[in-house]
Symmetry: C2
Subunit: 344 residues, 2 copies
């Protein structure tokens, strides 16, 4: 079965997917980034794909390699009307208009992009048929599992997620005795953070992931309703990185104090996203040192699922919750699942 | 959607499923144990089901409550021809003839029973459409995950499973300093073992689970090809329990010695089922004390999946790998998945 698809976005995740093209018999009808791209209803030949991939890696924009700007967009919209396939969105943009057009034209949609899923609840409902495994926990089959549990008549009572490898690493370092601000520098040096670490410490991405999980359970919540405890003020994003890191030192003592308090109670500190019928909360939590949430290794993600049937003995999923390879694995779970329904 | 099904076997797992009947809108067309049972193409009324369940719990055989023996079997075979539904097999018997009849008549089949899956490879292939999530790791969605990974074009390189909560508990106790034979007594006292613990220690059940995993990956292996290291000779099953337990003391020193050896290398000892293209092996393995396999709590099962895409950063699933509630959860994953395909 040849799977026809259009790739929207061509960063590290998109490039990882392009690499899989040959071995998996994916047929790319289009590859676009924010500058333009290539659309070919007959399928972009493998040689051309490889060329696009290597030039893109050299930093050349797709608008220069194919049709720039509006022209590419028009070609894409025409393709959506003429063919059937999967639209794979790995951008970080608000692509909702494209996604709605694709769905109306009978296309399947697969997302690594969280933004379209965290708009108004009504928009999430319009996107109910899209695949979004890759948006939370990357390739860990978390959404697949939640949907299977719900589809089998189980009720999910509580999800607890260590969904940021970066914050998990930071708190494990602090637990080992490192100062918080130093741990952030170490995480940066290892490439675990966004270019500006204030982005990770704001928790904003975790609020989005928590909301997506809650909505998967059918809870009609909005992003503003997520209770978020940031590890650093989002305003820090406006500061130069070095100044921001200097400022973090003011928090070292407070975090140490909270950790020592947890230790006295035989517990430790982790940044946990909690989803239940009471809503979504994300923040520092005292957890058992033997709990799966505390035992995550390195930048591993861990999700603990308590349901009516798995009560007292929760289901635990863990694995690489970030990175192009794992995110690509999540995309492919959705791509092949939805491809099977395309013909129907 | 009312799901019509026939329940074959009415032990603790079958009883757990019967309890779910009312809340989940399952329609039981038949309930049979080895002595006979009740078959009703119009659906057994809820009141009658509740009555069967409570009498069965009192120890009354279904043959006494409904039609005994051959009569029930004939009624079942007639039903298979007249209706469509799901045959749910929670026996521990070789039910292959029934399963083949059901499949030929267009029924779906769901198994908690491992036996039909560990006969000749050719029979496993004939059963390729059946649901068997509950046979390995109970409700942990392991088979679902493996099939999703394979279906998305990934390749599974190695599965390592702590698939016996009983043996996991025993080795954690030995690690804590307990003598092996004493740990077995403790596991028995907690109800973690089969009535005769030689059954658990033989590893035979793990050989079956390993074979089912290997066959899920498409490896055409036979049960005789599984490399099995028993923790006690299967011949022990012939001894009275107390005599068997006395005899186990001869192994205390040897197991202690192996554990101390592992500890000197910074490792610990676990009973691991390994599945790869090289085959299936089950036995004592030295594992990292921080590895997911070593960190299982109590009788938790843990499975570590290394694939082409999840290489170096494996996917980990953990949860209650035994017990009626979890096994029933596994059955229901299959029941509702297959129910959706029944109408087609």
């Amino acid at each position: 079965m040849r799977v026809p698809l259009v790739l929207l976005g061509c960063g590290r995740v998109g490039q990882a997917l392009l690499e899989e093209a040959a071995s998996l018999d994916l047929q790319f009808l289009g590859v676009l980034d924010s500058t333009g791209g290539v659309v070919d209803g007959g399928g972009i030949p493998q040689g051309r794909l490889s060329q696009l991939l290597s030039r893109k890696r050299e930093g050349v924009a797709l608008g220069e390699l194919g049709v720039p700007g509006e022209g590419a967009t028009s070609a894409l919209l025409a393709l959506l009307r003429e063919r059937r396939g999967l639209l794979v969105d790995v951008t970080a943009a608000d692509t909702r208009p494209f996604l709605f057009s694709a769905l109306e034209a009978g296309w399947g949609v697969v997302l690594a992009n969280k933004l379209p899923l965290v708009g108004p609840w009504e928009d999430f409902r319009r996107l109910s048929s899209v695949g979004y495994e890759a948006t939370v926990g990357a390739g860990i089959p978390l959404i697949t599992t939640l949907k299977a549990l719900l589809g089998s008549g189980d009720e999910v009572h509580l999800i607890q997620g260590g969904l940021s490898g970066t914050l998990g690493f930071l708190l494990a370092e602090v637990e080992r005795g490192e100062a918080f601000s130093q741990a952030v520098r170490r995480a940066m040096a290892r490439g675990y953070t966004e270019p500006h670490p204030a982005e990770d410490l704001s928790g904003a991405d975790l609020a989005r992931k928590g909301l997506i999980l809650a909505r998967t359970l059918g809870l009609p919540l909005e992003l503003e309703e997520v209770e978020l405890e940031p590890l650093a003020s989002p305003a820090g994003r406006g500061l130069p990185v070095e100044g921001f890191l200097q400022g973090l030192r003011a928090q070292d003592a407070e975090l140490r104090r909270r950790l020592e308090g947890a230790k006295r109670r035989g517990l430790t500190l982790r940044y946990v996203v909690e989803v239940s019928s009471a809503g979504v909360r994300a923040g520092l939590r005292e957890v058992d040192r033997k709990s799966p949430l505390a035992r995550a290794q390195g930048v591993e993600n861990v999700v603990v699922i308590n349901t009516r049937r798995f009560k007292g003995h929760p289901l635990v999923l863990a694995g690489p919750g970030a990175g192009p390879a794992s995110t690509c694995a999540g995309l492919l779970l959705d791509i092949f699942r939805l491809a099977r329904t395309l013909g129907r």
